[in-house]
């Protein structure tokens, strides 16, 4: 879009309704008073200027947000508590999605005699209004959501990265065309794109996949393009040119190491966004259609029986919340909570 100084605009918003808290691309956490240890270390460096003054914003040039990210990742490897918690929550959900269908094989098998049967040992989530096993449906729905989300994100990330690097590298009309397209697409809310898409063919898996991927690649394109343009314009790449190190070196040492953490963060966002979009569409009745087991759809179906069988409504809600919380926890640990579309994407 048009906001030219990298602030504001609508990019970065297709992420769980979250987004950059820092529209200017600066790193808020360094704005806080620096920890004594770090400050002390820097005072010994040759860099001129005092480092121990209040609120020293750090060397703005290269100690940008990503050094914070590096620290965060190192800390994460050590395994903070929040990180481990988030990982184990996500792990549990994935395990459930993988193993659930083995234990409770058929999500569609109806047995009206077991209408709203209470939870038991063999059926820990009871049966729904059609006598189907809620556990089986939940496992199947979780697997579907995770798979589709990961697939959409992988497609969007791959397409966006290729387009972004291409635009930044070649410039010219390729850049102009891709950027023009992204300007328009970025103004379209993700839900709108997917809704319109699902209107073409009624709620097929295929439409949802294409719609979600189509709505999300723009995000990757903009971030990758902005970052690649910065990297390719930097003295390091100029030096690599003078040293005649070739394209493989550029990709391997300059671009990919810069892009990887960004993509990782965006992908974490993206998985959450996709799962949420799927369930939201299912919930309002224009996503996947019954009798497919889908998280949002399950909430809608179970809600009328809230007073008789609250566990039926709660089960999909808990899975959804667990996934989103887990992804949030991972991202926080990444130290890149604020790195998303607005990071120089405009």
């Amino acid at each position: 879009m048009t906001d030219p100084n990298g602030s504001g605009g609508t990019s970065g918003t297709r992420n769980l309704g979250t987004s950059s808290s820092d529209a200017h691309g600066r790193e808020p956490s360094t704005a806080q008073v620096r920890p004594a240890g770090a400050a002390e270390h820097e005072a010994l460096q040759e860099q001129p200027g005092p480092r121990l003054l209040q609120g020293d914003p750090g060397s703005p040039g290269r100690a940008g947000w990503w050094t914070g990210l590096g620290r965060g990742r190192r800390a994460a490897r050590g395994g903070s508590r929040a990180e481990r918690a988030a990982l184990s929550v996500l792990g549990a959900v994935v395990l459930f999605a993988l193993l659930g269908p083995l234990v409770w094989p058929d999500p569609a098998a109806q047995d009206l005699a077991r209408f709203l049967e209470r939870p038991s040992l063999s059926e820990p989530l009871g049966h729904d209004h059609l006598g189907r096993s809620v556990a089986a449906r939940l496992a199947s729905a979780t697997r579907l959501s995770l798979l589709l989300a990961v697939l959409c994100v992988a497609t969007a990330a791959a397409a966006g990265t290729v387009a972004g690097v291409l635009a930044a590298w070649r410039g010219g009309w390729i850049d102009a065309a891709l950027r023009g397209t992204s300007e328009v697409l970025i103004a379209l809310p993700l839900l709108l794109v997917v809704l319109v898409f699902s209107a073409m063919a009624s709620g097929g898996l295929w439409t949802l996949y294409v719609g979600l991927a189509l709505a999300q690649w723009v995000e990757y394109f903009r971030v990758v393009r902005a970052r690649s343009a910065l990297v390719l314009g930097a003295p390091a790449v100029e030096a690599a040119g003078l040293l005649q190190l070739g394209h493989a070196h550029l990709w391997r040492r300059h671009l990919w190491p810069e892009l990887r953490p960004l993509l990782l963060t965006l992908a974490t966002f993206g998985v959450g966004t996709s799962i949420l979009a799927l369930s939201t569409l299912g919930f309002v009745g224009v996503g996947l259609q019954p009798p497919t087991a889908e998280l949002g759809l399950m909430v809608t179906e179970a809600f009328p029986y809230w007073s008789e069988a609250p566990w039926m409504s709660l089960a999909p809600v808990i899975v959804l919340t667990a996934v989103l919380l887990g992804l949030l926890g991972l991202r926080r640990q990444d130290g890149t909570d604020r790195v998303d579309g607005t990071q120089g994407a405009r």
């Binding site: 987004s19 103004a187 379209l188 898409f197 309002v284 919340t321």
Partner: protein, 315 residues
């Protein structure tokens, strides 16, 4: 400023073309004969027969090549002729006005609530980073992210309508009916506002120029009012632009959930019934709403921040 307006205008036109073309593609891909549907829309399903469908087909030129029909389709849009609803047979433009008003009402109330809750909370949190209020705000943000609007809406319905029975869960009757939908929208937004205000204010508070203003001998309140508030405002306003899409998406979900008569509700209905003219109109209105919000934010930022904004975007 003219440059901003020109760019946003180009974007708006692009959005219109994309949405309209997508809707045309839907028409072409619809199962069954579109002429039957339109005839049914006009005369009612009982009166449709092959003859009336054929007359509709000839009248609308549906037997011509697709690209000619697409040009016609665009031409209708340029003339602001949005057509009639395939379901109700009413003028889409007329319904659009009603729905737009409904959505704007909801969005304005939600935005206002979110701002009055979030911005002061963020500012207070920024004065003591790591303090109790700061941690509370952070928890709130995490919570609002983990509980998406439709689930939050359900929880609110359960608590206030089903169990307490104090507020209506759906519809558009009286002032109390807006409370739950607006609250659902505002809950998530206010957390984000708080977070952005807090981060920006912390950053501004520790900036060189605020430090310098302090050592000039200004009182803390003067520094806050003259330097911190304005610089925080610049970022906050820019962030409102980022929120435009979140707001519009939220509107779609919340309206469907609470059956609030707005654009989002109409859109979901249109998708459900494959009511293409209504779909096109509502989708266009929502997308242009995003562009309009961003234009306002651009202009506000321009007025608040004198720094030139060429630089990176010019590349």
């Amino acid at each position: 400023m003219l440059r901003v307006l020109r760019q946003r205008l180009v974007q708006a036109v692009g959005v219109a073309v994309v949405v309209s073309t997508a809707c045309f593609a839907i028409v072409q891909s619809l199962p069954g004969d579109i002429a039957y549907r339109i005839a049914a829309g006009r005369y009612g399903y009982d009166q449709v027969d092959a003859a009336s469908a054929a007359s509709v087909r000839a009248e609308l030129g549906l037997d011509r090549p697709a690209w000619q029909q697409l040009l016609d389709w665009w031409a209708d849009l340029v003339r602001l002729d949005l057509g009639t609803s395939l379901v109700t047979g009413a003028s889409v433009a007329h319904e659009l006005a009603v729905h737009l008003a409904g959505s704007l009402q909801l969005a304005a109330v939600a935005l206002g609530t979110a701002f009055t809750l979030g911005a002061p909370a963020g500012l207070l949190a920024a004065l003591r980073p790591g303090g109790r209020l700061d941690r509370l705000t952070s928890l709130w943000v995490t919570g609002s992210r983990a509980l998406p609007p439709f689930l939050l809406g359900l929880v609110l319905v359960l608590v206030f309508s089903v169990h307490l029975g104090v507020l209506p869960a759906a519809g558009h009757g009286g002032a109390s009916s807006i409370v739950l939908p607006a609250l659902t929208l505002a809950a998530g937004l206010s957390g984000l506002f708080a977070r952005v205000t807090r981060d920006t204010a912390v950053q501004v508070l520790s900036s060189e120029h605020v430090r310098f203003a302090e050592t000039k001998g200004l009182r803390a309140s003067t520094v806050l009012a003259r330097h911190v508030a304005r610089n925080t405002g610049v970022t906050l306003v820019a962030y409102l632009g980022v929120q435009a899409i979140v707001l519009v998406e939220g509107v779609v979900v919340v309206e469907s959930l609470f059956a609030w008569p707005g654009l989002g509700h109409a859109l979901v209905h249109a998708v459900f019934w494959r009511d293409v003219p209504a779909l096109q109109a509502t989708a266009l209105a929502l997308a242009l709403l995003v562009v309009a919000l961003n234009t306002i934010v651009d202009l506000a930022t321009l007025a608040l921040d004198p720094r030139p904004r060429s630089g990176r975007a010019a590349r």
